[in-house]
Each structure stands twice: as structure tokens, then as C-alpha cells.
Symmetry: C2
Subunit: 66 residues, 2 copies
């Protein structure tokens, strides 16, 4: 099951890659899709607390579920 | 004492902030300066292994000392 979260501060492909890596560092095997324009990150295989922790550590803004 | 490392994959302010946050997550209190054009990250208060770990986890390319 996947969930979509609003994440602020991402503005380029490097940011997308960074958020993805940070989530997969905490939860290896998670599937992550980033939509920069929508400021949306869809994650399968990680719970909300894990996503929040990864996004915070990577310096982006976690704003909860969309 | 500070050291400067070459880090690839950073292309905007979000990337700079992400690398900085990732390093400070591993070594709170570290001072980090990012020069995007030079692909250079100067760090005071963290050792090379810590910087490498943080940069890898954040999805950027750690290429050692400049």
C-alpha cells in the first residue's frame, strides 16, 4: 500500500534523488515516486513516521499526508 | 579544522540544504559550507567517514577530498 505526502523544499532532480535515497536508507526496498511540481512524494513500503524522519534528516519539509 | 570534499549531483539550493542537513544529522554541530559551482563541500567538526556516510545516504556522490 502506498501513501502520498506533501514535501516542501524540493526544486530539482538532485532534490528528488536525495529524498528518495534518504527514505530508502531508512527503509531499504521502499518504492518512492517524487512529483516536484505537486510537491508530492508517494511511498510504498515505509510508514509515515519513517518517511517523516527521512525527509527531516534530508533537510526538506514534511507536511503530512496529501 | 575543516576539510573540503568533492560532492557531485548537487544542482540547487535544495541540494545544498539537503547535504548540510544530512551531515548535521550524523554530526550535530558540524559547520558545513557548500559551493555548488565548485561541487565542493567544506566541513568542520566531522571526519571524512561521517561526511561520506551522510552524503551517500542523501543520494549525492562523495568523491573524496579536494
Amino acid at each position: 500500500m502506498s501513501a502520498t505526502y506533501r514535501v516542501t523544499g524540493m526544486s530539482c532532480g538532485g532534490c528528488s534523488k536525495s529524498v528518495t535515497s534518504a527514505i530508502q536508507e531508512i527503509t531499504p526496498g521502499a518504492k518512492v515516486e517524487v512529483n516536484l511540481e505537486a510537491k508530492a512524494v508517494t511511498v510504498e513500503g515505509a510508514d509515515e513516521a519513517q518517511v517523516r524522519q527521512a525527509v527531516d534528516a534530508a533537510g526538506f519539509g514534511f507536511e503530512g499526508r496529501v
